[in-house]
């Protein structure tokens, strides 16, 4: 969730003509050292249920993120810590910290259409994939369409990823395909807003291709890039607050 959301959102370097690599990879460099504090609302609709989860989040660079559920009451206090490739959940009701095992990484995060893997792996988008530019904008018109194919060595789940960015270099859409070139899901960004001195899309939606009536949508309620986030926020001790 947060990661493709932030990584691409923050990737708006304003050099006159970025290389594709800069377009994607530069985002990593930019976010490294950056920090954010925010509150988001996640709306999940599936065939089985529909619910809204409000969460507070802290991040530092692309490697460290902490998310704490605020509501609904049943899940309030459940906290997810991501440090590099590791993911932990803290369960206040039973006072347990559970590391998400490798086998569960492709499972859903909090019942949404975002997987645990998404939280961890998308930070390495530019490392695991080679890319070709399919379209580039003419001045302020048009868009970037970049196709990413996994490198031989990459252990990734997607057969192909197609990212679309506006001429403003803000992300618009990423389509994920499986090994047989069938669309699996689409992520879209919209509702560009100013948060402090940054302009970023405030809405992010995941749409699974095989369940047209299902989706997960994130919306930033607050986002702040100024408040300092101390390193100890991202420790197992602080999971329990």
């Amino acid at each position: 969730m947060i990661v493709p959301f932030l990584v691409l959102a923050l990737g708006m370097a304003s050099e006159p003509e970025p290389t594709v690599e800069e377009l994607l990879r530069g985002t990593d460099d930019l976010t490294r050292g950056s920090q954010s504090t925010g509150r988001a609302e996640m709306h999940v609709k599936t065939r089985r249920y529909e619910r809204t989860v409000v969460m507070d989040m802290w991040s530092k660079g692309t490697d460290r993120t902490l998310v704490r559920i605020v509501s609904p009451a049943r899940d309030a206090g459940i906290t997810t810590l991501k440090v590099e490739d590791n993911l932990w959940n803290y369960l206040p009701r039973t006072d347990r910290t559970v590391r998400v095992p490798a086998g569960m990484m492709s499972g859903s995060w909090m019942g949404s259409h975002v997987t645990n893997d998404d939280l961890v792996n998308d930070s390495r988008l530019s490392e695991d994939y080679t890319y070709t530019v399919k379209e580039r904008p003419e001045g302020d018109d048009g868009r970037w369409v970049i196709e990413l194919s996994p490198t031989e060595s990459a252990a990734v789940v997607w057969g192909k990823v197609v990212a679309t960015l506006g001429a403003d270099r803000l992300p618009r859409e990423i389509r994920y395909y499986d090994g047989r070139d069938a669309l699996v899901r689409t992520m879209t960004w919209s509702d560009v807003k100013d948060f402090g001195d940054r302009r970023i899309p405030s809405r992010f939606r995941v749409q699974p291709a095989d369940q047209p009536e299902e989706f997960t949508e994130f919306r930033y309620l607050k986002l702040d890039f100024e408040t300092p986030v101390p390193d100890r926020t991202f420790s197992l001790q602080s999971l329990k607050r």
């Binding site: 089985r48 899940d75 039973t94 347990r96 859903s108 019942g111 949404s112």
Partner: protein, 428 residues
């Protein structure tokens, strides 16, 4: 009384000792088969209790996808309504609703993937024998505790073997973590109140019982259940069949709320064909025993009757000459075998009844260590097996001894019938 019957009876006592010895051998065979049937009654009684009362029920009602997928969402709604309708069916002894789930269950140090079964203890007590899964004692004096209380109290009953794997004891707390129906992380702390040793290996090694309200809460299932199982008023095929016929009409509207699913009504033999096969094996095994035992009995009868016919060749010739048709001669010999077998049946019934009484009260020790009995097809038998009693245990051996004697006597009887009177009378 027909003269042939009188002759047959007196012929039997012409060689009283030989007849008695033959009858005794037949009676021993009969008593033996009665004991074996009694042991089968005992063992298959345990299997039946376990399989039907504890594991399967006679019939299960589920979401049509549940039997294969066992999905969290493959649920039934309005289970209360369904249960009260089922209670009213004459073919039903009672019904219970159950919730099923999978969870990571453990302590800070150890955990295991476990099958959770949610039950309503007060209802189960009247219908299934799930309370009996907590035995009265465990090896090494371990206290098995008790089954769940009637009201939900975050109690858990786990398999004895699972408890050993997790190194936990009665009174310890266990945390269950699972994905709930909203995709959230269902988690809860439960106190161990009982340990099961039911003979159902799957549950004893990796299963746990919860109050179904507790499990519904853990899984965020509201008041849905996964399964309603019904026990028929008896095992008889026509009662279970009648129940199966009556069930579709008893299902309330809105039981299944998935558009692409229906209610599945599955008899136990469909749910667990292996179990059904195992129960059927009883019939085959019992039949084999009867065939072997009464095959031997028949050999003895053939021998005795052949001797008896040969000795009386001349007499039979005279009787034929006097005008008894060959069919009459056959009857004369068959009557003799019949009376012999009835005599044997009388002795055998007394002998067999004594043996059955012994097997029912004293039983046979079958300890393979640690107070455990032999394991067979996912079932662990107790360390002392007791015989059972059934009408079958008497009827089948009695029929067996009589029919085998008649069948065996047919050969000597036909031989006697074919005797040529002139040759027979001349015979030395």
């Amino acid at each position: 009384m027909p003269i042939l019957l009188i002759m047959a009876w007196r012929n039997l006592w012409r060689h009283g000792r030989r007849s008695l010895l033959t009858a005794l051998a037949m009676a021993l065979g009969m008593a033996m088969s009665m004991s074996i049937i009694s042991m089968y009654d005992g063992m298959f009684g345990i299997m039946r209790t376990l399989m039907i009362d504890q594991l399967l029920g006679h019939v299960q009602i589920t979401h049509s996808a549940f039997p294969t997928r066992r999905g969290l969402y493959d649920t039934l709604h309005h289970a209360d309504e369904l249960l009260s309708r089922l209670d009213a069916l004459p073919q039903s002894r009672g019904a219970v609703a159950r919730v099923h789930g999978q969870a990571l269950l453990g302590t800070e140090h150890r955990s295991a993937g476990v099958r959770l079964v949610g039950v309503e203890p007060s209802r189960e007590l009247a219908v299934t024998k799930v309370q009996d899964t907590v035995p009265s004692s465990l090896p090494g004096g371990v206290d098995p505790g008790r089954f769940l209380a009637d009201e939900p109290a975050r109690e858990i009953v786990i398999g004895y073997d699972l408890a050993r794997d997790l190194r936990v004891a009665l009174g310890d707390e266990l945390v269950a973590i699972t994905q709930d129906a909203y995709g959230g992380i269902g988690n809860e702390v439960y106190t161990i109140v009982g340990l099961t040793r039911s003979g159902d290996e799957a549950m004893d090694r990796a299963g746990a019982w919860l109050h179904f309200s507790d499990l519904q809460a853990l899984l965020a299932l509201d008041d849905q259940v996964h399964e309603v199982r019904i026990l028929a008023a008896s095992d008889a095929q026509d009662v279970v069949g009648g129940l199966l016929d009556a069930l579709p009409g008893a299902l309330p509207d809105g039981l299944i709320q998935d558009d692409d699913a229906t209610a599945a009504i599955s008899p136990w033999w469909d749910i667990d064909p292996m179990a059904a096969q195992m129960m059927e094996m009883r019939g085959i095994a019992q039949f084999m025993v009867l065939v072997v035992v009464f095959g031997l009995v028949a050999l003895g009868v053939i021998n005795t009757m052949l001797m008896s016919v040969l000795e009386r060749t001349r007499e039979l010739g005279v009787i034929k000459a006097l005008g008894l048709r060959p069919r009459g001669i056959v009857w004369l010999v068959l009557y003799e075998a019949l009376l012999l077998s009835l005599l044997a049946a009388g002795i055998g019934t007394l002998l067999g009844a004594g043996l059955i009484a012994y097997l029912m009260t004293i039983g046979i020790p079958m300890d393979v260590g640690e107070g455990e009995g032999i394991g067979f097809g996912g079932i662990v038998f107790p360390s002392r097996l007791y015989g059972g009693i059934s009408v079958e245990a008497f009827v089948e051996p009695i029929l067996g001894v009589v029919l085998s004697a008649l069948l065996a006597a047919l050969l000597p009887a036909l031989r006697a019938a074919r005797l040529h009177p002139v040759d027979a009378i001349r015979a030395e």
